[in-house]
């Protein structure tokens, strides 16, 4: 078995992994990127539509263009080794980690602070990677039919929207020709247009909420442009067809009650599900990382380090992002924090961060008053002219009017040392009784 040693191992070569690795290598450390596909870029490769990079590059790019820019940024860095077409077979944290299901109870030797990742590829066999730090950048997976439990038969022709996107844009296969889409998030809307542009007919987009969850821009250019009906407050209540999808029953929801008497059928041969993304933390779990049920990702401190020392997380595996620009920001910052950790710097004092009124979650879960802190949050409500507030012990550190908030649009704000100055007395001394930072939306 080959053995390789690095300062850092980045698991995932998509937008998060590339940004983190670029930062780590840029500061002179030696980093391995393990990527399961044959190319870098992750999910960006199949997002051939535009809308990426408006913040980070100040240009509107397609997914592949954004990915290529990220890859180019890493190309000239000598300290990165890429391991493509490689999967992670096993991971071990300082406590030995949890065994993979099916494997014998693997009690390995404790690697003093050292973390171990077993990569597997057809050319290299198994490689044992040891490192002082790991960056979790595995992204997310899609919720599927099983998760939402659509009743009915189980014919061929039911796909998650992302799988259909991959099949169409990368492999050149069209799943079917009469399509119904469940979920009005951006992936579903983009696929409504894409399927139309490859000659399929999209008979409707079905959305359980009374409002669409994707960008209004996408409603206009993906649905309205093609006169595709959007059924708000509706669900697919049954799938029909014994071998291949033949149709679906659509049922309205009024005042939170199903109205089965008003159900109707849409004939179709394909159902695309765009019903949510789940951060893919199976490896994190096996490392012993503690996960946050609100985000589906790890709890992280102010430096984006998880509950396992030396293990960091960024990008969609930490929480599902809407814009890749923020993934790049977060992951670059994470890479910088990994370097600080590797340099052995003293960990600054950190206080707790809590989600207050109307906030579903805020990240990171801790703040460091002596540093610049970038926060990301999602609201629970749809509101115009909302007020974002960050307080410690009743004292307001930040107040900002936001023209419009909704759960599907992430909000970001920054608090630097100046903002904290005096808010809780001398750093580390806990000047106020409760040094907890509460973030709310009103």
């Amino acid at each position: 078995m080959k053995k390789r040693s690095y300062d850092s191992i980045v698991i995932g070569g998509g937008s998060a992994g590339l940004a983190a690795a670029a930062e780590i290598a840029g500061r002179g450390y030696h980093v391995a990127v393990i990527e399961r596909e044959l190319t870098l870029g992750g999910i960006l490769n199949q997002c051939i539509h535009n809308g990426f990079g408006l913040h980070y590059f100040k240009e509107e790019l397609t997914g592949p263009e954004y990915a290529e820019r990220m890859i180019d940024m890493t190309a000239h860095l000598p300290g990165i080794d890429f391991f493509l077409d490689s999967a992670v077979l096993e991971v071990k944290g300082p406590r030995g980690g949890e065994p993979r299901s099916g494997a014998e109870n693997a009690e390995g030797p404790l690697h003093n602070g050292g973390l171990v990742v077993y990569g597997i590829s057809k050319h290299e066999g198994i490689t044992e990677f040891t490192a002082s730090s790991i960056v979790l950048a595995m992204g997310c997976r899609e919720r599927n039919r099983g998760n939402i439990g659509i009743p009915g038969t189980r014919p061929a022709g039911v796909f998650t929207a992302g799988l259909a996107q991959r099949l169409v844009n990368i492999d050149g296969y069209v799943p079917g020709k009469d399509v119904v889409i469940v979920g009005s998030g951006d992936i579903g809307l983009i696929m409504a247009r894409r399927m139309t542009w490859v000659g399929a007919r999209v008979h409707g987009v079905v959305e359980i909420q009374p409002y669409p969850s994707g960008l209004t821009r996408n409603i206009a250019q993906c649905l309205n442009d093609f006169n595709i009906p959007l059924y708000l407050s509706h669900v697919v209540s049954e799938i029909h067809g014994s071998r291949r999808v033949e149709g679906v029953t659509i049922m309205p929801i009024e005042d939170r009650h199903e109205q089965s008497a008003k159900s109707f059928r849409l004939d179709c041969d394909t159902l695309l599900l765009s019903v949510g993304l789940v951060p893919d933390n199976e490896l994190s779990r096996r490392l012993g990382v503690v996960l946050n049920p609100e985000t589906g990702g790890p709890y992280v401190d102010a430096s984006l380090m998880t509950s396992v020392p030396g293990v960091f997380a960024c990008g969609n595996v930490l929480h599902v992002h809407d814009l890749v620009d923020w993934v790049t920001e977060e992951s670059t910052r994470c890479g910088g924090n990994v370097c600080d950790y590797l340099a052995g710097g003293k960990t600054p004092w950190q206080g707790a961060v809590a989600a207050g009124a109307n906030v579903k979650y805020v990240l990171p879960n801790r703040y460091a008053p002596s540093r610049k802190n970038v926060f990301y949050l999602r609201t629970l409500v749809v509101k115009n002219r909302a007020l974002l507030r960050a307080t410690i012990g009743g004292r307001t550190l930040l107040e900002r009017r936001l023209p419009h908030v909704q759960p599907s649009e992430m909000v970001t704000f920054t608090l630097g040392p100046d903002a904290f100055n005096g808010a809780h007395g001398t750093a580390g001394q806990g000047g106020l009784a409760d040094g907890r930072l509460e973030v709310s939306i009103e």
Partner: protein, 488 residues
């Protein structure tokens, strides 16, 4: 036209077990399956429980064959390498009344000669299965009960049978038969696609369609009533699920809704039991999910709706009288009826095979042992079961083991190729052989890889690949095939 000594109609667990048993003899045996792959009928939705043998009355064929079958699994596993574990079964009682039923089951188990069966106090049963509802007052423990991956079992039986000379004919649906009283090969069986074979004996192991096959063959009238069962699969990472199979106290017509640890580390809850009319009605419903969850929660409090990964339904082929009907046909000579094989059909299958072999022998089939009979099949290594050192050796020997296709279940390309080479050329067939597509993402990431491997290895065009046979095509067309014109 091909000629056989025995044709077995149906390659579910029953037909497959019989085929393998007969393959030990110098006979020409045909195993006929109407679907495009074996185990795609009733056996596709099996719970995978190897019962202990206390549920059925000693006078029933079910009880006798169930206990005999149960004992044969260790040897079978050594030969056929399917996943199997004797984790034990517990029946939980929550009242004095229920305890009385449990005592009757215990007595019945003793009469059926179930090894190791014990009556349990509350403390004893909770120590055996700590995840049980603490309100339990006592119960039954049968250490000989176990769990198995049912389609792996059927696949291995068929592989072994074919290795020893059995001819498997997929997509052979018997729609017509000619019976001659003078010819040595009494039957001509015709398939829907126009194929035909001659045979001396027929074994009707056609599951849900045993009544129709009997009619076609001139057998006695049978009536199969399909009884649907829905089951729900729970996340392997969920905590608080049991390590033994947990049964409630049974009702007169049902073993009840169970909490079943699977041999692969997930948990299943169910099945429901509802008679339906349509033999193809495999629809799942929402109402049942809540009912099943709360029923299961009574046994194991940790059962949570949040843990569900997927659900599926199966149909049991029930016959009036509630016992197996395994006999030489009263109406048609040389026809062996093997009908009404619902629970404990899987458990009993090796014993059913013995029993049918004996019926055939009594009916005049000459049984000469094959000297070159090999009961074993090749063991295909599974990447997910190997530690890094073993995995490394394997990849060096066969690089296809280094290409991970399904990362949720850690399935390598080599295993997918092994499945395809054994005739499993549909997405479901590959899934059942390898587990690719059964994990958290339910095929979201691996489907495109599996499709490409099937295209390459089975030499099928992508448009020909199906989910599980005729009509269930996966892809519609290639980009550019459909005319563009989507705007109004």
């Amino acid at each position: 036209m091909e000629s056989y000594d025995v044709a077995i109609v149906g390659a579910g667990v029953t037909g497959a077990a019989i085929a393998r048993r007969l393959s030990a003899y110098s006979l020409d045996v045909a195993l006929l399956e109407k679907e495009c792959d074996v185990s795609f009928g009733v056996s596709k939705a099996n719970s995978g429980i190897i019962h202990a043998g206390f549920h059925h009355s000693p006078s029933s064929l079910k009880a006798r064959l169930e206990v005999l079958g149960n004992m044969m699994y260790d040897a079978l596993q050594r030969e056929l390498h399917f996943p199997f574990r004797r984790c034990g079964i517990v029946v939980a009682a929550f009242s004095i009344e229920e305890m009385k039923t449990v005592e009757r089951l215990y007595t019945q188990g003793l009469e059926n000669k179930v090894i190791g069966i014990e009556l349990c106090s509350r403390d004893r049963i909770l120590s055996l299965e700590p995840k049980l509802n603490p309100d339990v007052v006592g119960g039954l423990h049968a250490p000989s009960g176990g769990i198995i991956e049912p389609y792996r079992f059927v696949f291995s039986l068929v592989e072994s049978a074919c290795k020893n000379g059995v001819t498997l004919k997929r997509e052979f649906e018997v729609v017509e038969a000619e019976v001659s009283r003078v010819r040595r090969h009494r039957f001509v069986l015709r398939s829907r696609s126009g194929d035909a074979i001659r045979t001396r004996w027929v074994v009707n192991a056609a599951g849900l369609f045993a009544d129709e096959v009997s009619r076609i063959l001139g057998g006695e009238e049978l009536k199969i009533i399909p009884r649907k069962g829905e089951e729900f699969l729970m996340d392997r990472n969920a905590k608080g699920y049991p390590s033994r199979v947990v049964f409630p106290v049974p009702s007169p017509d049902s073993k009840g809704m169970l909490v079943i640890p699977t041999v692969e580390g997930t948990t299943m809850i169910g099945p429901t039991a509802v008679e339906v009319e349509d033999k193809e009605d495999l629809r799942t419903t929402l109402e049942n999910f809540e009912r099943v969850c709360s029923s299961a929660r009574r046994l194991v409090p940790s059962v949570s709706e949040r843990d569900i990964i997927t659900s599926f339904a199966g149909l049991r082929p029930t016959l009036a009288g509630n016992d197996f009907y395994i006999a030489v046909s009263k109406a048609q000579p040389h026809l062996i009826q093997v009908a009404g094989i619902q629970s404990p059909g899987l458990t009993a299958s090796p014993a059913i095979a013995e029993y049918v072999k004996d019926l055939l022998k009594q009916d005049g089939l000459p049984l000469v042992e094959r000297p070159d009979f090999d009961p074993t099949i090749e063991e295909v290594p599974r990447l997910r079961e190997l530690d890094p050192e073993e995995a490394d050796r394997l990849v060096q020997a066969n690089p296809d083991y280094g290409e991970v296709v399904c990362r949720c279940e850690t399935v390598s390309e080599a295993e997918v190729v092994a499945a395809i080479r054994r005739g499993h050329t549909t997405l479901d067939g590959v899934k059942f052989y390898t587990r690719a597509g059964m994990g958290r993402c339910q095929g979201g990431f691996c489907t495109y890889k599996t499709l490409k491997i099937i295209e390459r290895e089975a030499k099928l065009s992508l448009g020909e690949i199906t989910k599980r046979g005729e009509g269930s095509f996966v892809l519609g067309s290639t980009v550019g095939d459909l005319p563009v014109g989507g705007e109004s």
